[in-house]
């Protein structure tokens, strides 16, 4: 009997809750939590979601297990059909893509993300791998779920920052505060940010707002790890956890526990008792 879930499984369930049934949803590569969130949603509350997998562009794949690389035949197994790379991005450009998921080494209060570089373009302190198609899709896709497994400030360095060193993907406003609506982009931008410390929505002015914490985190911990001004919702909720059935599905989908690799070592041991078992 499953009586508890890991932090990773709880985060996956939170990501999955941002998916509506009957919508077209895409994940990029290098994000096991999101791959599993989409598969979980498809198997529970969103059976009619069109699931497009990043790197392969397979539609509704049913992989026998999750691999640590996204452009692999194993994660494309069972796909009903496949899109071309241009077809996927055209779906975004034309306003047919409803949701995708983005992350960043830095994320600011408007939901701008940086996965490109630290320092100046001519004097780099750190070259990050880059954003794939995230820049284009952050502008075009109907709604964006943001996530990070590295919210907790380490060595005095924030990941949730006042300003990104480079804006790879666009949030609710530009780094200078210009609302995205003024740029004429199709998409509505980020509406959720799921971290290992809590979950944010985005208020009417476009700024991230803490709406819930995990059973072992609180507002003070979130504030201490947040480099932008922390806005907290009037009613702060303890975040809902997955049910035992959802946890079982996740463990079957990911027998190699690739989902744990996305978490920092200290967060891999965090577990929460499920409601039914309390």
């Amino acid at each position: 009997m499953i009586t508890e879930c890991t932090l990773g499984e709880a985060m996956i369930a939170s990501l999955a809750r941002t998916i509506e049934d009957g919508t077209l949803v895409f994940h990029g590569y290098g994000s096991p939590l999101v791959q599993l969130a989409m598969q979980l949603a498809k198997r529970t509350h969103a059976p009619n979601m069109v699931l497009v997998a990043g790197a392969t562009y397979g539609v509704d794949p049913d992989p026998p297990f999750l691999a640590p690389t996204s452009n692999d035949w194993v994660v494309d197994r069972g796909a009903a059909c496949s899109l071309d790379i241009e077809e996927l991005f055209d779906l975004g450009g034309a306003g047919r893509l409803d949701r995708m998921f983005l992350s960043g080494l830095q994320i600011d209060g408007w939901g701008n993300c940086n996965v490109t570089l630290l320092g100046e373009p001519e004097a780099l302190r750190l070259k990050l791998p880059g954003g794939g198609g995230g820049c284009n899709l952050s502008c075009d896709v109907g709604a964006v779920t943001l996530w990070t497994t590295a919210h907790r400030a380490a060595h005095g360095r924030f990941r949730l920052v006042d300003r990104c060193a480079f804006v790879t993907s666009l949030g609710q406003r530009t780094a200078d505060g210009v609302p995205r609506a003024a740029l004429g982009h199709r998409g509505g931008g980020p509406d959720r940010l799921v971290t290992e410390l809590g979950v944010f929505d985005f208020a009417a002015d476009g700024h991230a707002r803490l709406v819930g914490t995990w059973p072992d985190t609180d507002v003070d911990l979130v504030r201490a790890s947040t480099g932008f001004d922390l806005i907290v919702a009037d009613r702060l909720a303890e975040l809902p956890l997955p049910d035992a059935d959802a946890v079982r599905i996740l463990r079957e989908l990911d027998p190699l526990a690739i989902r744990q690799r996305e978490l920092r070592a200290g967060d891999r041991q965090r577990t929460f008792a499920l409601r039914s078992a309390r």
């Binding site: 590569y29 290098g30 392969t56 996204s70 570089l117 780099l124 198609g133 075009d140 996305e262």
Partner: protein
């Protein structure tokens, strides 16, 4: 832009890379851990090609190796890394951070539109996206324009016709028709947009056999030359022939992260040798059998992704 009509384009790896000049804009096929033309890239390094400009979408060991060998002057890739598997690309990082490689990162749809402009023979194509991000700072050749029909502000991105696309396919025929099985990533766009297409294939077969296998993916008229190179994508996957070689990749990354003599040792052992020697050094038939074992079922396939000791 020309078309290639020779009835027999078969050559070897050395003959293939003669078509690439220093400073060429190179589109590397495949993506992440699959179907990257690694044998051709090693041949390019052996031939001493340098100052290459690499363009593409999602890459890993291919671009990292070229950077580690000092062959790259500029990157216009969207992503170079090893996902949640091994993380960042050490040689790529080092080359970008030292200034040896100029960073002009791009984004997948931007690259797609630039390639499509070249394919269509128009000087640019518009995009709605990108405005509001810092890609305009990295790429001053993007221009904001006003749509003459609607008055909307859009971004114009210039046509991109790579000097050469280097692809690895499962099958090809002597004339240069290619059959790619599984996700083609950007290979078809690269083939149509590039001035030359150089291909390695697992097997050269007859045109009839290509058709029997499901048909042509890249028509021969785009293809300049091809070489039959079994395991030509190793250590990336080329299904159905072989899966991704995770232990080799882990060892590569250890050498790449250490840099210096450790990485020079890797180059001496695996790059500055002919392909037959390479195949022997990666473990010969034993490795070929191990990487083909994904066909034996889910347990065998999963075992290929187990922890690297």
């Amino acid at each position: 832009m020309t078309v290639y009509t020779s009835p027999d384009k078969r050559t070897d790896l050395d003959g293939l890379v003669e078509h690439v000049r220093d400073r060429a804009v190179v589109a590397v096929g495949g993506g992440l851990s699959s179907r990257e033309p690694m044998a051709a890239l090693r041949a390019l390094i052996r031939a001493g090609r340098r100052d290459l400009v690499v363009v593409g979408s999602a890459h890993g060991i291919d671009i990292d190796l070229l950077c580690g060998a000092g062959a790259v002057a500029e990157t216009r890739e969207s992503y170079v890394g090893f996902e949640q598997d091994f993380g960042m690309a050490p040689n790529y990082r080092r080359a970008c951070e030292s200034g040896a490689v100029r960073v002009r990162d791009s984004c997948c749809y931007t690259v797609v539109q630039q390639l499509r402009a070249a394919i269509q023979g128009v000087p640019f194509l518009p995009l709605r996206s990108v405005r509001g991000t810092d890609f305009l700072v990295l790429n001053p050749d993007y221009k904001t324009i006003t749509c003459p029909f609607t008055g909307e502000e859009l971004l114009a991105v210039p046509a991109l016709a790579p000097d050469v696309a280097i692809l690895h396919a499962q099958y090809g025929d002597a004339r240069g028709n290619l059959r790619i099985e599984g996700p083609p990533v950007a290979d078809l766009l690269f083939a149509r947009a590039s001035k030359k297409v150089l291909a390695t294939v697992e097997e050269v077969v007859t045109t009839e056999e290509l058709h029997a296998r499901g048909g042509v993916t890249v028509p021969y008229l785009y293809v300049t030359a091809l070489a039959e190179v079994p395991l030509g994508a190793h250590p990336t996957a080329c299904y159905p022939h072989y899966a991704y070689d995770r232990p080799y990749t882990a060892a590569y990354l250890d050498a790449a992260a250490a840099g210096g003599d450790a990485f020079r040792g890797h180059l001496d052992r695996f790059v500055h040798v002919d392909h037959a020697t390479y195949l022997a050094r990666i473990g010969g038939e034993e490795t070929r059998h191990r990487l083909a074992s994904w066909k034996d079922g889910t347990e065998a396939w999963m075992a290929l992704y187990g922890e690297v000791s």
